[in-house]
């Protein structure tokens, strides 16, 4: 009976909304304005400035400032160091986002349940992410130190390795070390978002599933996961976009080395832009990051908007 009353109300309200069309515009503008104003005003100049500089050979030191078309881009595309960095960045982004999503989901599922002391467990989960990055980088540098680091010490004591592993001083392990550090630091971000997403799954569905005799696994795979999908995709999207721009961890831990094994696009851009003050090539690199991110976002975005449209129906 409540539903019937509701549906008649809905009809009335919708009709009313149509008539109120014009008046509905003012609140929309008021609500959208602050965010859009801030976002656009802060980012428009730098973004266009960056694109503009990427087409020129501006140098403060040598006082050049001429339009050179796509020269910076063609030089960048011909540079094997660029592709090395691009590849490293993609590998890092894919592996860290995937790992963090899986681990984050596991954590969220566990933390969602009621058990004694769960408040403390939730709070402790956030610790890795709360520690300032400047500290985390140095901390991992020391923990994973090949000779005196605690990780090697524990692994040797546990008998898992016979000799010290040269974690980030070896071209083979360095990227792995960075992934581990990033996963430790950022999984809480995913776990938190997914935990909040688990809220939106109606409780009645669990009851229905139980009555139908579905197993825990089926409940998760057939019901929870699909309903969690929008949140999952949004969280993974933002995480991937952030991971693609990783900088602090790499710069402090390895400086992009050894032998460019951990050079990512951000460190390459930082060196070109800040150290060498080459605004043209540096801006071209920034644009490369930007365009690749747009590609990533496009793939995700299409999937997300489809899911949201499906769920809100």
């Amino acid at each position: 009976m409540a539903t019937k009353a509701l549906s008649t109300s809905i009809a009335t309200v919708s009709a009313g909304a149509m008539r109120r069309g014009r008046r509905a515009l003012a609140p929309v503008i008021l609500m959208l304005a602050p965010s859009l104003a801030v976002l656009l005003s802060v980012s428009i100049y730098p973004v266009f400035n960056g694109l503009w500089l990427s087409l020129r050979n501006t140098s403060l030191v040598f006082q050049t400032d001429a339009f050179i078309g796509l020269d910076n881009y063609s030089a960048m595309v011909a540079d094997p160091k660029f592709w090395n960095a691009w590849r490293n960045t993609l590998v890092f982004t894919a592996s860290s986002t995937a790992l963090e999503t899986v681990l984050g989901l596991l954590m969220a599922l566990i933390l969602f349940e009621t058990f004694g002391g769960r408040g403390w467990v939730r709070a402790s989960m956030l610790i890795p992410w709360a520690i300032p990055t400047v500290v985390t980088s140095k901390m991992f540098a020391w923990m994973f130190d090949g000779q005196n680091g605690i990780v090697n010490y524990l692994l040797r004591t546990a008998g898992l390795i016979s000799g010290n592993i040269n974690w980030y001083g070896s071209a083979d392990h360095a990227l792995l070390t960075i992934v581990i550090a990033d996963v430790w630091k950022t999984t809480p971000f995913m776990a938190l978002l997914l935990l909040s997403g688990l809220q939106t799954i109606p409780g009645s569905l669990a009851e229905a599933a139980r009555i139908d005799g579905a197993s825990e696994w089926q409940y998760f795979w057939r019901i929870r996961l699909p309903l969690l999908a929008p949140t999952l995709l949004i969280a993974a999207l933002f995480r991937a976009l952030d991971a693609f721009r990783i900088f602090d961890l790499v710069y402090v831990l390895t400086g992009g080395g050894p032998a460019d094994a951990t050079e990512v696009l951000s460190t390459l851009t930082y060196k070109t832009l800040f150290s060498a003050l080459q605004f043209g090539p540096g801006s071209a690199l920034s644009s490369a990051i930007f365009f690749t991110e747009m590609l990533i976002a496009l793939c995700f975005g299409i999937a997300v908007t489809r899911k949201i449209k499906a769920v809100s129906r």
Binding site: L60, V61, F62, Q147, N166, G169, T254, G256, A259
Partner: protein
């Protein structure tokens, strides 16, 4: 008539004469203010205002305290300190300095620059040539290597401040135990290192190979110790692929892989990760900067107190020891509107007294050779006194305004050589890239 006592400092540190003048001026200003005459003419302070931008160095005192001392010591110039990030964030210091200087509006009037930026700032026309203020006679008092580093295209564009360079730290107790002398050549070092390891001492020789600026510093030491160079004196001819340089990099590679006196972890170590095993007593030899000494003698930080000595780095047979120069130097803004005031401040900063002050409070090794002989230095920083011979043989890194780009190439290719072992190929590639950079 002013008496002597009026000019002497009283306990409050205010010269009585100044006090009289200032308070008199204050009264006059207040009085005139009430009458309505322009008070500007009788302003309390007729001091020229200049700004001094420096990276944030600190130890037992800070830059602000040094500047306060200058401001109190005279009446004509007032220096405002503009603090830049600490030198550990040197890229940010560089960036902020460049942005300020590129505005060409005269601020900061005086600044400090890392020795590797001097050619760049000079070429850009941001640093004022100082030859007319400090002539060759005056500059003789400084170490020749540092003066060379402060000169670009024959003009002096920076005033030496402090000097730092790579040096060989060694465990004198271990050397005594195995009956070895301080190594002069790399061969001797390798031999001593191999004999000296054992027990807690796991490493023979530690240096820094992280793909960062420090790698270029180590590179310069090794290459220079074989009589080689990275760039020729003209700043255009590239010598990194010459046999001397290749042999030097090969040696770097061999310490890890052939002689095994160096752990492969050095490829990710910079100053601190390489210092820690040494001060924990785990190594025989260490190549590092000045700062390690005071830490090695600190009981809270070090297990090797009183067991360490310092010497110039070894060299290839028949060649000379080479150390890589570091340290910040002063510069004056070419567009400064108060050049005379800036020069006055710079002169004060460059006096032996101020250099001694920096040496005793911050551990900054003086660039004036004579200051090394000061008895106060012997008392508070005896270590610095020992370093004079080391500094005499110090070499700057390649002097070119394109240094930032050159060093990035060196870091990448030398790291490649050290990881993959293809020394010749990597250095040839480095030469090709650097030639393109310095030619344009």
């Amino acid at each position: 008539m002013l008496k002597d006592s009026d000019t002497q400092l009283n306990t409050a540190g205010i010269r009585r004469r100044d006090f009289i003048v200032t308070s008199g001026a204050a009264v006059a200003t207040a009085a005139l203010g009430t009458i309505g005459l322009p008070t500007r003419l009788f302003a309390q302070s007729a001091k020229t205002q200049i700004t001094f931008a420096s990276a944030r160095f600190f130890a037992t005192d800070t830059m602000q305290q040094v500047i306060d001392k200058y401001n109190k010591s005279q009446n004509s110039v007032q220096v405002t300190y503009v603090e830049l990030p600490p030198p550990s964030s040197s890229t940010e210091v560089h960036q902020q300095l460049v942005q300020q200087l590129a505005r060409k509006n005269g601020t900061p009037d005086v600044f400090t620059q890392d020795i590797i930026w001097i050619a760049e700032f000079a070429e850009a026309g941001w640093a004022l040539p100082l030859d007319s203020y400090f002539d060759a006679e005056v500059m003789k008092a400084y170490f020749p290597g540092i003066v060379e580093g402060c000169t670009w295209r024959g003009k002096l564009t920076a005033m030496p401040w402090f000097i730092d360079c790579g040096k060989l730290y060694y465990r004198k107790d271990i050397l005594e135990k195995i009956g070895a002398t301080v190594p002069q050549t790399w061969e001797q070092l390798i031999e001593t290192a191999q004999k000296g390891v054992g027990g807690d001492v796991r490493f023979g020789f530690i240096w820094q190979g992280k793909q960062a600026e420090i790698l270029t510093c180590d590179l310069v030491s090794f290459v220079g110790s074989n009589g080689g160079a990275i760039l020729g004196p003209d700043g255009k001819s590239v010598k990194i692929a010459e046999p001397e340089a290749k042999a030097a990099v090969q040696l770097m590679y061999d310490t890890i892989n052939k002689y095994k006196i160096t752990p492969s972890d050095v490829l990710s170590w910079d100053e601190e990760p390489s210092r820690r095993p040494f001060t924990a007593g785990q190594a025989v030899f260490l190549r590092n900067w000045n700062y390690v000494w005071s830490i090695a003698q600190d009981k809270a930080q070090s297990e090797i107190v009183d067991k360490v000595e310092v010497a110039p780095l070894p060299h290839f047979a028949g060649k000379q020891s080479a150390a890589c120069l570091g340290g910040y130097q002063y510069g004056i803004n070419a567009f400064s509107k108060n050049k005379e005031a800036a020069v006055d401040f710079l002169r004060w900063l460059s006096t032996p007294e101020t250099q001694l002050h920096f040496a005793t409070t911050q551990g900054f090794a003086p660039t004036r050779q004579a200051v090394f002989d000061e008895p106060e230095l012997a008392k508070t920083q005896p270590f610095i006194q020992k370093l004079k011979p080391v500094f005499l043989g110090a070499l700057p890194r390649p002097v070119t305004p394109k240094y930032p780009q050159v060093t990035l190439v060196l870091q990448s290719e030398v790291s490649n050589a050290l990881v993959k072992g293809d020394v010749s190929g990597s250095l040839d590639r480095a030469k090709a890239q650097i030639e393109k950079i310095v030619a344009s």
